[in-house]
C-alpha cells in the first residue's frame, strides 16, 4: 500500500512528478532535477522528508539501551541538544540501518530512521529491551522537512520568530534546539549547510508553504540523491545493507571502540574484521570519459571482476559521472567499469566529491 505524507496535496499542486519511494508517494522533481540540485548548492531549497521515521526512546534505561544497540556511543553526547550519526548493527556486524540519534534530556532520545527500515528497526530495538525500563514512541504525528543550502540560515527567518531563528543560526553541526516552534537540528544529507526540522502536521504544511511562497524552491528526491552522492554520503539499501559492515562501508569513523567494555551488538564481529583487515571497501569512483555510472555496473582489472558500483549518477555540480563502489582490497591502481559491454577507464577518488559548494575532484579529462 502506498502512503502519502501530509504534504502530498501541495506537491501535486506544485507540479511534482511523484514516484513510489519506500512505500511513499514522494516528489522525484518539480520540473527539473538538475535545476533543483543547483538551487541547493548555490542557494537554498526545501525538501519534504516526512517519509523518514521518527521514534522517541524514553525512560531511565534509554541511554543504556542505545549504548547496547548503536555502534556509535551516545555517551559522547555530554549535553542535551547534541546529536550523532550511527549504524544499527546485527550480531554479525551487518548494517541494519543508519540513523541520527538526538539527546534531548537525560532519559529522552529521538531517533530518525530510514523510511524503508523504520518498522524493522523498531521491532529489532524492542526485542533487545528485555528488563530495561524504556518506552518507544513512534512519532507518526510529526513530519520532517530539510532546509538545505548556503542560504538556509537566512531562510530560517521566513518561518521562525527572529529570536528562535537567531538561536538556530548559532547552532553548530549536529546540534539542535526545540521549543513550541519546532524541533530543529543543524543536519542534512546534501553536503551543504542546512537544517532538518520536525513539526506537527498542521505546522508542517504551513511552514513548507511559507518557504515555497517566499521563493525557496521545493526539491525532490532526485536532487536529494545527486546531492548526497556528490557529498559522498551512503544510501542505505544501496551502498550498505545487512550483508556489509560499517568498516567496509567507509563508516569506520562512526564505530566507537572506546570504552572497550561497552558491548554493543556487532562488536565482536567488527573486532574480528578489524583484526583481519577488510577484504572489500566502499570507495569513490570518477568516470574519466563520457557516460554515466549506475549501480550494479561491474568493475574490472583486466578480465578480473574486482567490484561493483553501488551508487552512480551524473554529478550536476561536476558535469561528469561519479559513483560509489565496493571494491576488493587491496585495490589495483587502475580499473575499468563495464557499461553496455564496453570497458571504460575509471579513477579512484576518496569521497566527498563536493563539500559546501567546493569541488574536490580534479577535472575528468
Amino acid at each position: 500500500m502506498t502512503q502519502k505524507t501530509p504534504l502530498y496535496g501541495l506537491h501535486e499542486r506544485l507540479g511534482a512528478k511523484l514516484i513510489d519511494f519506500s512505500g511513499y508517494l514522494m516528489p522525484l522533481h518539480y520540473g527539473s532535477q538538475l535545476d533543483e540540485h543547483h538551487h541547493v548548492r548555490r542557494g537554498v531549497g526545501i525538501f519534504d522528508v516526512s517519509h523518514m521515521g521518527i521514534v522517541d526512546i524514553e525512560g531511565e534505561d534509554a541511554g543504556a539501551l542505545l549504548r547496547r544497540l548503536l555502534a556509535n556511543d551516545v555517551a559522547k553526547l555530554r549535553n542535551p541538544g547534541r546529536a550523532l550519526y550511527s549504524c544499527l548493527l546485527n550480531p554479525a556486524g551487518g548494517v541494519l540501518d543508519d540513523l541520527i540519534v538526538y539527546y534531548r534530556e537525560p532519559g529522552r532520545y529521538r531517533l530518525v530512521l530510514n523510511a524503508s527500515r523504520k518498522e524493522a528497526d523498531t521491532d529489532w530495538m524492542r526485542s533487545e529491551v528485555r528488563t530495561l525500563r524504556v518506552r518507544f514512541e513512534p512519532r507518526a504525528d510529526l513530519g520532517l522537512l530539510a532546509l538545505q543550502g548556503p542560504g538556509a540560515q537566512e531562510a530560517l527567518k521566513i518561518v521562525f520568530t527572529p529570536g528562535f531563528a537567531e538561536r538556530l543560526a548559532a547552532l553548530k553541526p549536529f546540534a539542535f534546539l526545540e521549543n513550541e516552534e519546532g524541533f530543529v537540528a543543524r543536519t542534512g544529507y546534501t553536503g551543504e549547510d542546512g537544517f532538518e526540522i520536525a513539526l506537527p502536521q498542521a505546522r508542517l504544511t504551513q511552514a513548507f508553504s511559507a518557504w515555497v511562497d517566499a521563493g525557496v524552491p521545493p526539491i525532490g528526491l532526485g536532487a536529494r540523491d545527486t546531492l548526497r552522492l556528490e557529498a559522498g554520503l551512503n544510501l542505505y539499501g544501496q551502498d550498505m545493507d545487512e550483508t556489509t559492515s560499517p568498516l567496509e562501508s567507509n563508516l569506520a569513523w562512526t564505530v566507537a571502540w572506546d570504552p572497550a567494555e561497552r558491548d554493543f551488538i556487532g562488536r565482536k564481529a567488527l573486532e574480528q574484521e578489524r583484526q583481519r583487515g577488510v577484504t572489500r571497501l566502499l570507495t569513490g569512483v570518477v568516470l574519466a570519459g563520457p557516460g554515466v555510472l549506475r549501480s550494479h555496473q561491474e568493475l574490472r582489472e583486466g578480465e578480473r571482476n574486482i567490484g561493483l558500483i553501488t551508487s552512480g549518477s551524473f554529478a550536476p555540480t561536476l558535469g561528469f559521472s561519479i559513483g560509489l563502489a565496493r571494491v576488493q582490497e587491496p585495490r589495483p591502481a587502475h580499473a575499468k567499469v563495464v557499461i553496455r559491454d564496453r570497458a571504460l577507464e575509471v579513477r579512484w577518488q576518496p569521497p566527498p566529491f563536493v563539500k559546501q559548494g567546493r569541488v574536490l575532484v580534479p577535472r575528468a579529462d
Binding site: K17, L34, G222, G291, V292, S313
Partner: protein
C-alpha cells in the same frame, strides 16, 4: 499536454521518425519520452556506418536517473549522429522534435513508415496507457 507533430511517425517505444528522403530517416524521442526521462545528461549514438536491423538499438540516452535504449524501426546503417548532443544533451529536453534529434539512418530499402503510428494513433496509445 504533449506536443506532437503531424508530420512525424511514432513508435510504441516513444521514438519519432521523419522521412528525409527516399532512403534516409531521422530518429528522435517524443516530448512524452523526454518528459518521462527527466533531465538528459548523456546521449550515445552508435557510430556512423554501424549496420542495424529493424528493431535494433541505435542509441542510448541517459537522464540523471536512468538509461534508455533507442530503437530504429527500419533496417539500415547509421548515417549521422546529432553533433550537438555531446556538449548539450539537454537540447533533447528543450526541443525534442527539432534541434534535439538523435540520429539519421540510411535505410536498406526505400523508406516505408506505414507500419508506424501517426500523431493521432500515438496520442491514443498514450491516453490508453494512463
Amino acid at each position: 499536454m504533449n506536443k506532437l507533430s503531424k508530420d512525424l511517425r511514432y513508435t510504441e517505444s516513444h521514438e519519432w521518425v521523419r522521412r528525409d528522403s527516399e532512403q534516409e530517416i531521422t530518429i528522435g524521442i517524443t516530448d512524452h519520452a523526454q518528459e518521462a526521462l527527466g533531465d538528459l545528461v548523456y546521449a550515445e549514438i552508435y557510430p556512423v556506418g554501424k549496420r542495424l536491423d529493424a528493431g535494433d538499438v541505435c542509441a542510448v540516452v541517459e537522464s540523471v536517473k536512468a538509461a534508455s535504449d533507442i530503437y530504429t524501426p527500419l533496417a539500415g546503417t547509421v548515417a549521422a549522429g546529432n553533433p550537438v548532443l555531446a556538449k548539450s544533451p539537454e537540447i533533447i529536453n528543450r526541443d525534442p522534435y527539432g534541434e534535439g534529434w538523435l540520429l539519421k539512418v540510411k535505410t536498406a530499402h526505400p523508406v516505408d513508415l506505414s507500419g508506424l503510428l501517426d500523431a493521432a494513433g500515438y496520442e491514443r496509445m498514450l491516453a490508453e496507457a494512463h
